[in-house]
């Protein structure tokens, strides 16, 4: 199963431990993660499900291509990093 890790910055607001969750696309994986941690969803995604403007997601170190529908494929056993973009200096 893919593993999801979160930036340290988010932990101050909502605890987001690293978890292994199922899914073949980024959207499926994050849905599975947020099913266990609903409050975290709104910290990462907009109301309409897009990735927040100043968040970034990497799958095995590669930046994702689809920030809107989160359709990037996720290989079994991949590591997904959810981080905040460096913005604002």
């Amino acid at each position: 199963m893919p593993s999801v890790r979160f930036t340290r910055n988010i932990q101050r607001h909502v605890e987001c431990p690293t978890l292994d969750v199922p899914g073949a696309t980024l959207g499926e994986v994050l849905d599975a993660y947020f099913a266990t941690n609903e409050r975290a969803r709104g910290y990462v995604l907009e109301d309409d499900g897009k990735l927040r403007k100043h968040m970034a997601v990497f799958i095995d170190g590669e930046q994702i291509g689809d920030r809107e529908t989160l359709s990037d494929p996720v290989p079994d056993g991949a590591v997904i990093d959810v981080v905040q973009s460096l913005s604002g200096g």
């Binding site: 910055n9 988010i10 607001h13 909502v14 409050r39 709104g42 910290y43 990462v44 907009e46 109301d47 309409d48 897009k50 927040r52 100043h54 968040m55 905040q84 973009s85 913005s87 604002g88």
Partner: protein, 371 residues
Amino acid sequence: MARCHVSTRKGLFTLERGAAGWDIARASFVGDNVTLTMHDPRSRDLIAALNHGHFGVKLHRSRDGGTTWNEIAAPKYPEKPEGYTPKMPVEGVPVVDWSLKLVWALEPGGADQPGVIWCGTLPGGLFKSADGGDSWSLNRELWDDPRREQWFGGGADQPGIHSICVDPLDSQHVKVGVSCGGVWTTRDGGTQWSLTAKGMRAAFMPPEKQYEENVQDPHMVVQCRSNPDVLWVQHHNGIFKSIDGAATWTELTGISPSAFGFAVAVDPNDADSAWFVPGISDEKRCPVDGRVVVNRTRDGGKTFETITRGLPQKHAYDLVFRHALDVGRAGRTLIFGSTTGSLWVSEDAGDSWNALSSNLPPVYAVRFEQS
């Protein structure tokens, strides 16, 4: 004890009136961007709106006067209908993303509606909670009005609801102020809405559109508690007043040093008395000649006096945002805060002012606890 909540770019500061005067009694959310704080006189709850930027807009509630806080649900926009394409607004870009950008107004419902809270947001949604903020629903009637798609951003990229006036005599009668989209009124708690900005003038539009109601930019709308038919507006290009419950508006002119600004407060007990903190103009958002002043009328806007006592009169460039001036229930105590972190209090209805701080973060909102 009298209390006042000051929401700033770097935290929430609670002021208390002790024997020696007003002072900062508590700092909460230090380091976080607190855009607005509401005190609910029915439950005594506090609700603070935080904008974390990266992580979005959140609401926190305290049920012990601000000692402890818990995150509660934030308003959430519904899914867009399949294939929906927004119309172009009068200016700017359409609201493509149905997603919360900012909580810009929080107002308790009427005394007969415990638990009801209204919430105005960017990009233009009005939300209501019936359970003290545990859950929120978008007012679809206003959101689905085709004229809502015509709204456009003033200072922000997207339009927003910044003022909510719940009639103290009839809690089904609610008015909202929109930048930019005029003033809207419901008489039935939000099922039917009418656009009520007749008489407002938008100097920023071409001549033939200047009196269109849906393009107006009221920066702040306030309603007199003891005479709710009287409303005052600090508008983008002037000061307007209504004495007929927003059916018609009259522009007040000849105001020195300027009629530009964001904040306005009206005396809860005297509809003829109102306070403003002027800036130069929309192109130059700072005090005229570097002097911070308060403009006060006590005769319904026929005349204004410019008050300087206790305020800096040399090289002061403080701007006062729309929610950053408030008046207490008795109409004697006023507090306002500025973009450069100054905070002033008056306990004589604005005759004179004392600086409470010159070192706060940029102040977004000042709200007294009203009983």
